[in-house]
């Protein structure tokens, strides 16, 4: 009996030891699985954060044909619209556009003329429509006031006005050149200065002749300007600045509130570019501050890694989406660390979203995929304002321009309705993170969710009312 009891005790002890072993193995496996899960989640998080910072590229991320030629500034839509001489030289452009509008049933009561129709832009009369009263027009004029002062008294496109911030004088260049110890230090100094002056983002890229206007054109003086004879130095580097536009004002598109923040951002953008130009000149290097003149802003911003080309013809940047204005500084300083262009999955999202095209009142934005050539017309007289030989979304900027004139104020529906246009709140950054890793069908779903959640509505009268209540918060 005693032996049996001893044997039973031994068996129990063995079983307990076995159970303890099994339990510790189970715990080991459980904690191992938990640990592996935590490591996998951390790795996924790091990957997503890296993707949100953009995938760096060695070359310009958009395919460009070898036969691509720089854009003639005389064909830029605002320059052509502001130039009497160019309108007189090219009557066929107005004629072809009117014929197209008539064919598409968009002509209206009278024929459109790029120069004559835009002569009294944003001068009234006031309207009963929300966002078009004297209050909003006064704000729009105030918004543009500083930009007009800085850019030379009216024209937004003249590169050589002696009184403007974007003048080409080099009379502040210091005799002694400041020597940075390494390119990274130089880039950091420039970006630190840009931050202090108020830039939302700053990128530095090499000067690329493909993105420079050639020839340049001053619509105010009706003069052609060349890089060889008129520009004061051989630029090596372009510093690109992004300035944020006000979200609540932009949400009221299309209205004069949108114009107010556009004008204000123009003023800030050219102010910063002008200050950085002086900074570079006082360091002993040449510089020219530029807003919309001298070169194309969007490709330079893409090259500087600040954003990606979008369906609406603008760049989409992390955090701000398309709600930015761009200015730049051309300089001969080249001892800098250049930023690589980056892609953030915007093109893929734009292919599926099409919300800007849906909300475009003039049907200027394409519903098609990126292409080498515009698809809206095959008539050579209708294609003078477009770039050819670059793989992108091609839009009809003439229709966009006409809507501005008809509306007596700019539009910005394509910015307002874009799902990337959000204020800087945590849940939008979460959605951004989801968008960079998800495939196309999810992007279409996210577009629908964006609508369902009440974002990006255009012509919403409440947005105007809400804008005028925001003063309570300051």
């Amino acid at each position: 009996m005693k032996k049996e009891s001893e044997s039973s005790t031994t068996n129990n002890t063995q079983n307990e030891t076995k159970d303890a072993h099994n339990s510790s193995r189970r715990n080991f496996l459980k904690f191992g699985a938990l640990g592996a899960g935590a490591v996998a989640a951390a790795a996924a998080g790091v990957t997503i954060v890296k993707r949100m910072e953009g995938i760096p590229h060695e070359e310009f991320p958009t395919p460009v044909n070898d036969d691509f030629t720089p854009f003639d500034q005389r064909n830029q839509i605002n320059v052509f619209g502001n130039s009497k001489a160019l309108n007189e030289k090219h009557p066929e452009r107005n004629k072809a556009f009117n014929a197209q509008l008539k064919k598409e049933g968009q002509l209206g009561d009278k024929e459109f003329h790029f120069f004559e129709s835009s002569a009294n832009f944003m001068q009234g009369p006031y309207r009963d429509t929300p966002g078009f009263s004297q209050l909003e027009q006064a704000l729009a004029h105030a918004g543009f006031y500083s930009a007009r002062q800085q850019l030379g008294g009216g024209s937004m496109e003249g590169p050589k006005h002696p009184d403007s911030v974007s003048h080409w004088r080099q009379d502040m260049v210091a005799e002694q050149k400041y020597q940075f110890s390494n390119p990274k230090e130089a880039s950091l100094a420039i970006k630190s200065a840009a931050r202090m002056f108020g830039a939302a983002r700053c990128g530095i890229t090499r000067r690329d002749k493909r993105w420079d206007y050639d020839p340049m054109y001053d619509a105010r003086t009706e003069k052609i300007l060349t890089w060889e004879e008129d520009f004061p130095f051989e630029p090596k580097t372009v510093i690109v600045i992004l300035v944020e536009m006000d979200y609540p004002a932009m949400a009221a598109a299309p209205s004069w509130l949108g114009d107010a923040t556009v004008g204000d951002a123009y003023a800030n953008a050219i102010k910063i570019a002008g200050q950085l130009n002086v900074f570079l000149q006082r360091l002993g290097y040449h510089g020219v501050a530029s807003m919309n003149d001298v070169g194309l802003n969007a490709p330079y911003a893409i090259a500087a890694g600040l954003g990606e080309g979008a369906r609406n013809g603008q760049i989409i940047t992390p955090t701000y989406g398309p709600r930015v204005r761009i200015s730049k500084i051309y300089t001969d300083f080249e001892f800098v660390e250049y930023d690589p262009p980056r892609t953030f999955g915007v093109t893929s999202f734009c292919k599926n979203c099409k919300r800007c095209a849906d909300s475009c009142p003039s049907e200027a934005i394409t519903f098609g995929d990126p292409s080498w050539e515009p698809e809206f017309s095959t008539d050579p007289e209708s294609l003078w304002h477009t770039s050819k030989g670059i793989w992108k979304f091609h839009n009809d900027s003439r229709k966009c321009f006409k809507f501005w004139i008809d509306n007596d104020g700019s539009c910005a529906n394509c910015i307002c309705s874009c799902p990337y246009n959000k204020p800087d709140f945590w849940h939008h950054r979460l959605v951004d993170a989801q968008n960079v890793i998800s495939p196309g069908p999810v992007h279409s779903f996210m577009r629908e969710m964006d609508i369902l959640f009440g974002y990006g509505a255009v012509s919403d009268p409440d947005t105007v009312k809400n804008f005028w209540k925001l003063g309570e918060k300051i």
């Binding site: 609540p248 204020p423 709140f425 945590w426 849940h427 369902l452 959640f453 009440g454 974002y455 809400n466």
Partner: protein, 93 residues
């Protein structure tokens, strides 16, 4: 305001974790029930953060949609899981 929300959500998350620990010890929960409770509480807290964020940015519709789409499933999941745990305990008694 959002900072205060994060603070309150932090306290609520701590409370939820402690509650789950106490519940787990008392009812001997398996991984499925623990996951149900965790997911339910997580969705509820997420919906609160979303709702407050959306209201603060001036888009109350996004706030209500967020609470509807994330908060409601969270509440249902949490309720079903807790009811299941309690009914199992009663059967065991």
């Amino acid at each position: 305001m959002m900072d205060l929300t994060w603070y309150i959500l932090g306290v609520l998350t701590g409370g939820a974790l402690y509650g789950t620990y106490v519940f787990s010890n008392r009812f001997k929960l398996n991984w499925l029930l623990l996951s149900g409770m965790g997911a339910g509480a997580g969705l509820l807290l997420f919906s609160i953060a979303w709702g407050v964020g959306a209201v603060l940015e001036g888009v109350p519709r996004a706030g209500s949609m967020g609470i509807l789409l994330f908060g409601l499933p969270g509440l249902i999941l949490l309720t079903v899981t807790i009811r299941h745990i309690i009914s199992k305990k009663e059967v065991a008694r």
